[in-house]
């Protein structure tokens, strides 16, 4: 169980103003909101890059600030929005980096590290290009390799910052399907920042709407993704009805009116 309570943070101006939420084991939790609403700051606090000025984040009741860096790395996996890929490391070398916290600071990876990396690459369907340099992979392939790196320690919480931002629709569905499967089968709590409202409605167990650093609404998509809430959060005209296939909320933007 991932819990955040009354988180506050500012970059000179307040960015988070008392954000609280909880996400259960095996749940996919989507963070939604306009640009600059504080989503990325919130997840940077969850993964320990930033420290909240007030409030707490805990995993199964343990306050994250009390957990040493290497132990935290075993609990929380993180996929950043963008990564520098200027050096031709192979996909396998990149995924093995995910095992850093398990191994020694100096030396080589153990057999266990390699088998776990192979498991992560198997799950994310990246094993076939284990020997290829990451600089030569497509956006979708690279994103799945980064996901494999994040799950190579089998963390309890998996945090992804806009994992589908640069992908085509087919890869978006594949990526979110993969994250959903991981959350269910490996019982990971997946926290996903995204702008894809319809994909969040299809895949997430819970969504949270942030606006100007405040939680506007949080809960299961069918309960909280209403026209009123979405219009208030995004300040744009839209219609919400039910998907004829899944019954999940379906958002249609009214453009050019």
């Amino acid at each position: 169980m991932l819990e955040a309570y009354n988180l506050e943070f500012s970059y000179g101006r307040p960015v988070l103003k008392g954000v609280s939420f909880s996400a259960g084991q095996g749940e996919l939790f989507a963070l939604l909101g306009p640009n600059g609403s504080g989503k990325s700051t919130l997840i940077k606090i969850i993964v320990g890059i930033l420290h909240a000025e007030r409030g707490t984040v805990s995993i199964d009741g343990r306050d994250l600030t009390s957990i040493p860096r290497r132990d935290l790395a075993k609990l929380v996996g993180y996929v950043a929005q963008e990564s520098a890929m200027r050096f031709p490391l192979t996909a396998m070398e990149l995924v093995l980096q995910g095992r850093f916290a398990q191994g020694r600071l100096i030396g080589f990876e153990s057999e266990r590290d390699i088998s776990e990396a192979e498991w992560a690459m198997g799950v994310t369907e990246t094993l076939e290009y284990a020997a290829r340099p990451v600089t030569e992979l497509s956006g979708g392939e690279r994103q799945r390799v980064m996901l494999a790196r994040a799950i190579a320690v089998r963390p309890k919480v998996l945090v992804l910052d806009e994992p589908v931002a640069n992908l085509d629709v087919a890869h978006q569905v594949k990526m979110l399907g993969l994250i959903k499967r991981l959350s269910v089968e490996e019982e990971m709590t997946a926290v996903v920042v995204t702008h894809e409202l319809n994909l969040a409605a299809e895949f997430a167990n819970k969504v949270l709407f942030l606006r100007q650093g405040e939680v506007i609404k949080s809960g299961p998509p069918r309960e909280v993704m209403t026209e009123e809430v979405l219009r208030g959060v995004f300040e744009t005209d839209l219609i919400v009805d039910d998907s004829p296939i899944s019954g999940a909320p379906r958002v249609t933007l009214i453009a050019g009116q």
């Binding site: 200027r86 192979t90 600071l105």
Partner: protein, 358 residues
């Protein structure tokens, strides 16, 4: 039928590549094998460099004198050859190894830290800072030779601190911003260095100018202390090699994977500055070594720093020995500055590497 054959061939090629051509990851065996091959290469280049010069010495004479030095005994060689090898060429070759290793490892360290394959002690202005330190020591403490590498180290550390501070944006240090800060710092320091050199007296001015372009001929008395500095620096970078692998992808992500990024950054910046300072103090600002050697090593052996760092040390040493041999012989009896050779060789190779990488 043709399709089946093609498919079989493709599968066979993939299997073969997997086995030999494109390894998935660095293993202990591959590391040891590569370093042994490079060490043998370094030794062979060393023998060739010692044997080559205005007075040609046979390879067997060189080997005999070296084994005499290592395992004792008295080799049957002429006193002239003994003098040339022991007093002139061997110290110079050893200095080339020390300086080449230092610059190549410093380059690979800066590149990993800044996530930029174009980072280099020269580009970041650290060589100029070290040169300024060394020149200041020459002016104020000429009688104390060890003050030069120490002052060069201090100059390098202060420079990286200034470059780092200038490169800090509102949200941390962007790589491009840091490189730009390096370019500006380099320009300012170079003008101070040139001012100091121009103000010096005639004879001293010539020797300092020659050292500035890059010169391995004069400082054999500093060989041992500088070699010690360089070994400490390479060791300090190497123990952080695994952390550097993660930091090459992103500092924040490395932090979330368990790397103490702040500690690694400070340790590696200090170590790389020690390497740059030591190299510049004895040989001036020899360009391109820190840029080209790690790049070439990565193209052949992959990007894992556990290989890149020691392999760069060995290849950097061999490269600088070769460059020095050319500098000593190409316009004999006069000598070219080694910096001229490294730049002449380095610039086109760098352009080629840049195009290939892109």
């Amino acid at each position: 039928m043709t399709q089946v054959v093609q498919l079989r061939m493709t599968t066979a090629v993939t299997k073969m590549k997997k086995r030999v051509g494109t390894p998935e990851r660095l293993t202990t065996q591959r590391l040891v094998f590569t370093l042994c091959v490079l060490a043998v290469l370094l030794f062979i280049v060393g023998i060739i460099s010692i044997a080559t010069g205005s007075e040609q010495v046979s390879f067997s004479t060189v080997v005999r004198i070296i084994s005499e030095k290592i395992i004792g005994g008295v080799a049957d060689v002429s006193p002239e050859h003994r003098l040339i090898i022991s007093e002139i060429r061997l110290p110079r070759v050893l200095m080339a190894i020390v300086v080449g290793s230092a610059l190549a490892v410093a380059g690979s360290a800066y590149q990993a830290l800044l996530r930029n394959p174009l980072a280099d002690p020269g580009i970041l202005g650290i060589s100029s800072g070290a040169a300024l330190g060394a020149i200041t020591a020459t002016i104020f403490a000429e009688s104390l030779p060890i003050s030069r590498p120490v002052a060069a180290f201090v100059g390098a550390v202060l420079t990286i601190a200034v470059v780092y501070a200038l490169g800090q944006g509102r949200r941390g240090s962007g790589t491009e911003r840091l490189i730009l800060a390096g370019v500006i710092t380099n320009a300012s320091l170079s003008s101070i260095v040139i001012f100091l050199v121009t103000s010096a007296s005639g004879a001293r001015q010539r020797s300092v100018l020659s050292w500035l372009i890059g010169d391995l001929s004069g400082e054999s008395r500093l060989l041992l202390p500088v070699a010690l500095f360089v070994m400490i620096g390479i060791g300090a970078v190497y123990v952080n090699a695994r952390s550097l692998n993660l930091m090459m992808i992103g500092e924040e992500e490395a932090l979330t994977l368990g790397v103490e990024t702040r500690r690694v950054k400070i340790a590696v910046y200090l170590a790389a500055s020690l390497l740059t300072g030591a190299a510049v103090a004895v040989s001036g600002a020899i360009g391109f070594v820190g840029l080209i050697i790690p790049h070439s090593v990565r193209l052949v052996g992959g990007s894992d720093n556990r290989l890149v760092i020691p392999a760069s040390a060995l290849v950097g040493g061999a490269f600088l020995m070769l460059a020095d041999t050319i500098a000593r012989t190409v316009v004999a009896p006069r000598e070219l500055n080694i910096g001229v050779i490294t730049s002449l060789v380095g610039a086109p190779v760098f352009v080629y590497l840049l195009r290939r990488t892109n």
